[in-house]
Amino acid sequence: MALLEVKDLQVSFDTASGRIFALNGVSFSLERGEVLALLGESGSGKSVTASAIMDLVPNPPGAIDRGSIRFDGAELLTLSGNERRDLCGSRIALIFQDALAALNPVYPVGWQIAEMYRIHGRKPKGGVKKAVIDLLTAIGIPDPERRARQYPHEFSGGMRQRIMIAMAVALEPDVIIADEPTTALDVTIQAQVVDLLATIRKRGDAGMIFITHDLGVVAELADRVAVMYAGRIVETANVFELFEDARHPYSLGLLASQPRVDTDEDELVPIPGSAPNPLALPSGCAFRTRCPRAEGLCAEVVPPLETVGPGRQAACHFPVSPA
């Protein structure tokens, strides 16, 4: 049984100009000890997926229309508010993109990490204070006793992101969801945070969902990748297969449009056009308007996510043939 299993999830938002389907039947599963990357560009629905799992979809205007999220055998969507809150933070934890916004500016960071224990009524061995100091040491914050008493604004961006990570792993959750944790950081700091996340995943057997648009970070950290486009998963594959032998034209397009720092390329091959308007998604396959392989069928039938090889799926009528 998978640790976390999302099936046919549909999330919509009411806006003044109509209903937007942020997720259109998203299914994936996460095993213990695995890092699954949700890769997609802005508006693809990757962050909404995280919100849905964490029960953070604002309602109204948002609503989970259908689907299921099973965690450790239990259906999350039918749990009561209290039961759900108990799980979130203790067994499923979220690392936010914007650590400065996610930390409360009026409390010291040590207090905020300790809050995790207090909310869930946990009494760690040796007391809360020791646990906080140990955590800060573990995530590489020098002089933790003094730093614990400081406020978020006294930390640099990278340090704040470390503190977010400390809060997320404080209660040793089973699932860690990292929502673009490195996007706002400079490369050298980003490398530190990626390393820290890699260390954390080696520590226990937690499963990690890593949400990002950065192919490089995916290659560094992920075991398996789910590529999202316009509220759907268009391809899932293990990380090696995706980078060497992508089947969906969108995945291929993403790889081709990414310049590399270690080689010179003549010209980038961008994907033409821009992401579709969520209010007026193209009929059939949402990617067809930008797709070089699109044919008549693509406008009529939404391609289902089908198995295209051992452990990998793609949602395309005309997938790229194996390399």
Binding site: D186, A191, D195, A219, F243, S257, E265, S274
Partner: protein, 325 residues
């Protein structure tokens, strides 16, 4: 390289006064030749935005000089400055912020012409606007819309079209693609490359994304805490960087190739950027550098040529020493 188009010498920009001003740009010198693209990389807080603003005369220089096509930028004013603006244009980072949301595209594009009477006669504004829109991959009917009706990539195309209205010789691109999605980013990078070829533009391309900089630049400068610490032709900088900071920067960029995971030598820097108000003595990088010795704290290294790579200038006392980490 004969006469450079832009020649910057010992340019500084300090904020605040008193004993410890923030030295955002400190004694920076470089040149850009006609038709050349110079990449400027550095992390946030390194002073690249201040440098751009000083060059564009959006803020005053504290000292030093910057000469564009024979005209001293730092001292230009009035008529001279107004003429200078025609030769030097800018593409800003955030396409959502840099276009006035209340102005329609045709007005946005023709604003520079209204400011420079004589550039294009008013009767031809519409015609020229359409030409420009088409040259950046937009269509004539887009002229009647407002910026809010465009996607991020399209807005950046508008930003580029505006920057080209006065037919500049130098285009300063301040993180032009960092707000865009990867697939769209490639479109804009290609567009800039094409325009540069067609118009023989010189570009100062500022970005924190090293891969993009490698793709577009001829030469590259690396900035750290207001100083240029290494500069040279793209090949030298990317294949044989000599400064420890450049090496760390290069190695920190995640490569989109999972096979390299764990096999690549990664230099993970310790700590954070020191405050530019109170930079370390001597070499500014020494507090995070694994090669630092006592000389680094005492003496500030100057940019000196490396024998290993042609054209490479590095500001480091230990640049020739074996990279031990």
């Amino acid at each position: 390289m004969n006469q450079p188009l832009l020649k910057v010498q010992n340019l500084s920009r300090h904020f605040g006064s008193g004993a410890t001003p923030v030295r955002a740009v400190d004694d920076v010198s470089f040149e850009i030749a006609q038709g050349e693209t110079l990449g400027l990389v550095g992390e946030s807080g390194c002073g690249k935005t201040s440098l751009v603003r000083t060059l564009l005369k959006l803020g005053p220089a504290t000292s030093g000089s910057a000469v564009l096509d024979g005209v001293e930028i730092t001292k230009a004013s009035g008529r001279e400055l107004h003429e200078l603006r025609r030769k030097m244009q800018v593409v800003f980072q955030d396409p959502y912020q840099s276009l006035n949301p209340r102005m329609r595209v045709d007005r946005l594009i023709s604003e520079p012409w209204a400011l420079h009477p004589g550039a294009v006669p008013k009767a031809r504004w519409r015609e020229e606007t359409v030409k420009l829109l088409e040259s950046v991959g937009l269509r004539a009917e887009h002229a009647d819309r407002y910026p809010s009706e465009f996607s991020g990539g399209q807005r950046q195309r508008l930003g580029i079209a505006r920057a080209l209205t006065l037919d500049p010789t130098l285009l300063v691109c301040d993180e032009p693609v960092s707000a865009l999605d990867v697939s769209v980013q490639a479109q804009v990078v290609n567009l800039l490359a094409r325009l540069r070829r067609e118009r023989n533009l010189a570009m100062l391309f500022v970005a924190h994304d090293l891969a993009v900089v490698r793709h577009v630049s001829d030469r590259v400068m690396v900035m750290y805490l207001g100083k240029i610490i290494e500069t040279g032709p793209k090949q030298s900088i990317f294949s044989a960087p000599a400064h420890p900071y450049t090496q760390a920067l290069m190695s920190a960029v995640p490569t989109p190739d999972p096979r390299l995971r764990g096999h690549r030598k990664r230099i993970v820097l310790e700590g954070d950027l020191p405050s530019p108000a109170n930079p370390p003595s001597g070499c500014r990088f020494r507090t995070r550098c694994w090669k630092a010795t006592s000389i680094c704290a005492e003496q500030e290294p100057g940019l000196t040529a490396r024998t290993a790579a042609p054209g490479l200038l590095t500001a480091c006392h230990h640049a020739d020493a074996e990279t031990g980490h």
